[in-house]
């Protein structure tokens, strides 16, 4: 069963310890200056944003059907069965299609590097496979970021909304968006106000399906189209041969 993270913005106190733990886990620089940065970047996989005394975290959503993995020409991204969407830098050729395709704009790039990598939260796959929590969930002092089985977390989120309906927007962001994600968000405010794409805009259809509808036709298209083209070629050159055989007064000039 796939693992997931549940982030409950109403429980978050904005201590940014998840940011620090993530940086340490992924060997990224972290100091006061980085802590003050309010956007994700190639050296900041996750960010805690503040707005009117309320907090909101952003990180890769670990989509069930990730766009980043489906578009990558060399398959540098892939969805593990445990849930994390991971990146193999060796395969990457740096086309940045993953960045353009991700509806959550999660992959970031090392623009200043001469051998740049795509960077994003990878959901601590080593820890997850070893049966541990992610670094950010482990350090969270209030349980605002919680690690667990996706199904369990969905149930828990539903319970929280039911028990405290006045605290929450009545939805779990990530439950259905783009076909479901392994990061689930509960919040008192609309997540869209923090830069998350609107549910209505991204929809519930897994992004890869938009391309799949066309791509799946190709295996049939190739033989059919080859036959058609070959047929036309044969017919038009048959004519020429016939014309030539008939004495070729006017070779191939009229049809």
């Amino acid at each position: 069963m796939s693992k997931a993270l549940l982030y409950d913005a109403t429980m978050c106190i904005g201590c940014k310890q998840c940011e620090a733990a993530c940086a340490q886990q992924n060997k990224l620089p972290y100091d006061d200056r980085v802590a003050a940065e309010s956007v994700q970047s190639e050296h900041k996989y996750t960010v805690v944003m503040t707005k009117d005394d309320k907090f909101m975290r952003r990180l890769c959503m670990h989509c069930e059907r990730p766009a980043c993995a489906s578009v990558c020409p060399v398959g540098a991204f892939h969805k593990t069965k445990e849930g994390p969407v991971v990146y193999d830098v060796w395969k990457c050729i740096g086309c940045r299609y993953c960045m353009v395709a991700c509806a959550f704009a999660q992959p970031k790039y090392e623009w200043g590097s001469l051998n740049p990598r795509v960077r994003k939260c990878i959901m601590c796959p080593d820890r997850v496979v070893a049966g541990k929590q992610t670094a950010c969930a482990e350090i969270c002092p209030t349980g605002a970021t919680k690690f667990g089985d996706r199904d369990d977390l969905i149930k828990e989120a539903q319970d929280r909304i039911r028990d405290n309906p006045s605290n929450y927007q009545p939805r779990i962001y990530g439950l259905h968006e783009v076909g479901g994600t392994c990061v689930l968000i509960l919040s008192g405010m609309n997540v869209e106000e923090y830069g998350y794409p609107a549910s209505a805009k991204i929809g519930d259809t897994p992004m890869p399906e938009y391309t799949g509808r066309v791509m799946e036709k190709i295996p049939d298209f190739i033989p059919v189209w080859s036959l058609v083209l070959g047929g036309i070629y044969w017919i038009s050159h048959r004519r020429e041969e016939v014309a030539a055989a008939e004495g070729g007064e006017k070779n191939g000039s009229k049809r």
Binding site: E42, V74, G94, R96, L114, M215, I218, F221
Partner: protein, 393 residues
């Protein structure tokens, strides 16, 4: 042999010098230093122009080959070679462009061993590799003829049918797939340009552009080489271009009607201005021009209409790849001068290589062969003066 320093040579040298400087910046300081691309705008001018437009502008090869070998439009025979040459150079330069744009170009060969069949870009990549190979073989006879190597030419002629069919198949696939690249971004690309019909529109525009490009390059090289323009060829191409433009225009219209967008596209907005520019250049002006018989029969008219429609389709690709994302991102993207200079350098290399090739290889038919094939009714003197007056401006 002494080399004269003409105006265009100076321009060429300047472009190359700036391009080389930018190349240096690109490979010694990275993509961030050479371009205005950011995490919000990961694809810039190099994808929008060098790749999307580059491949589109190289479509003349398969269009002309298709017309001549599938539909027996014998008259176009004389433009097969220049069209194949343009296409071959176009794809080579597209690959050069990729080497600039890819963050890790030294791993470009990974494409061949780590395949992701679900990726449109993988499909485009494979098609481009295969098609460039096909074009190489379609182009090779020029070189072989130059050195009088008869046997290999015979081999190539034997497989020519395969090359023709394969070339058109591969072109159909990747020209349309360039449009499919954007299908996965329904929430990002502006609805003026995001449509499930993108692959069809991209394929359709490739055909129109292929025809326009063939008119453009034959006129251009006739001018440069001081050759006669074969008017009947241009007229044939111009007629086909008019039809192709109509089909494209109807496809676009149909798509907007189908998606209920007509009300929005006539309302002024930032995107609407760019859309209007695109539609005017690609369709309104050239279709109007070509509807006049006088224009369809005049080399300058055909040339002008083609160039305008080319600009229109280039605007279209830039709209799809750049303008269409600005509202989503929330700010504008303007390429850095170093980005422009790399693009210019690649274009200049294209012109230069084309010039060298037509000079040293039998790309254009010998003058006497051309005369033999031309119709008796051909108004040669008129064309010659037209060419002259053209060369003057």
């Amino acid at each position: 042999m002494k080399i004269k320093l003409t105006f265009w040579r100076v321009v060429f040298l300047l472009i190359m010098a700036m391009g080389l400087y930018s190349t240096f910046v690109r490979y010694f300081y990275g993509l961030g230093a050479v371009s205005n691309m950011t995490d919000q705008f990961p694809w810039g001018l190099w994808i929008g122009f060098d790749c999307l437009c580059g491949v589109m502008l190289a479509a003349g090869g398969f269009c002309v080959i298709g017309a001549v070998y599938l539909f027996n439009v014998e008259r176009l025979h004389s433009v097969v070679r220049p069209a194949v040459l343009t296409a071959f150079l176009g794809y080579l330069l597209f690959i050069v462009g990729l080497l600039f744009d890819l963050g890790r170009p030294w791993y470009i060969w990974h494409q061949l061993i780590y395949m992701n069949p679900h990726s449109v870009m993988f499909e485009v990549g494979m098609c481009v590799i295969a098609y460039t190979t096909v074009l190489f073989f379609e182009f090779l006879p020029n070189v072989l003829e130059r050195f009088n190597l008869k046997t290999p030419i015979k081999w190539i002629n034997k497989i020519y049918a395969v090359l023709v069919v394969l070339g058109i198949l591969l072109s159909t696939l990747h020209q349309s797939s360039l449009g499919s690249l954007y299908l996965i971004m329904p929430s990002k690309l502006h609805p003026f340009w995001y449509t499930p019909a993108l692959p069809f529109l991209f394929f359709g525009s490739a055909i129109a552009v292929g025809l326009a490009m063939t008119i453009f390059e034959s006129t251009q090289s006739a001018k440069a080489l001081g050759r006669h323009l074969e008017l009947p060829v241009l007229v044939e191409l111009g007629g086909a271009l008019l039809v192709a433009l109509w089909v494209n225009a109807l496809l676009r219209f149909e798509d907007y009607v189908h998606r209920g967008m007509l009300g929005q596209i006539i309302k002024p907005s930032y995107e609407a201005y760019f859309l209007w520019l695109e539609l005017t250049l690609a369709f309104v002006i050239p279709i109007t021009m070509l509807s006049f018989k006088k224009v369809r029969l005049s080399p300058q008219g055909l040339y002008l209409a083609s160039v305008i429609s080319l600009l229109g389709f280039i605007t279209n690709r830039l709209n799809v790849s750049l303008t269409g994302f600005e509202t989503y991102v929330g700010h504008h993207y303007m390429p850095k001068w170093t980005e422009f200079s790399v693009t210019l350098m690649i274009i200049a290399m294209g012109f230069a290589l084309f010039g060298v090739a037509v000079k040293y290889l039998p790309i254009f038919p010998e003058e006497e062969r051309a005369v033999k094939r031309s119709l008796p009714s051909e108004p040669e003197p008129e064309v010659a003066t037209a060419v002259l007056s053209h060369a003057g401006d």
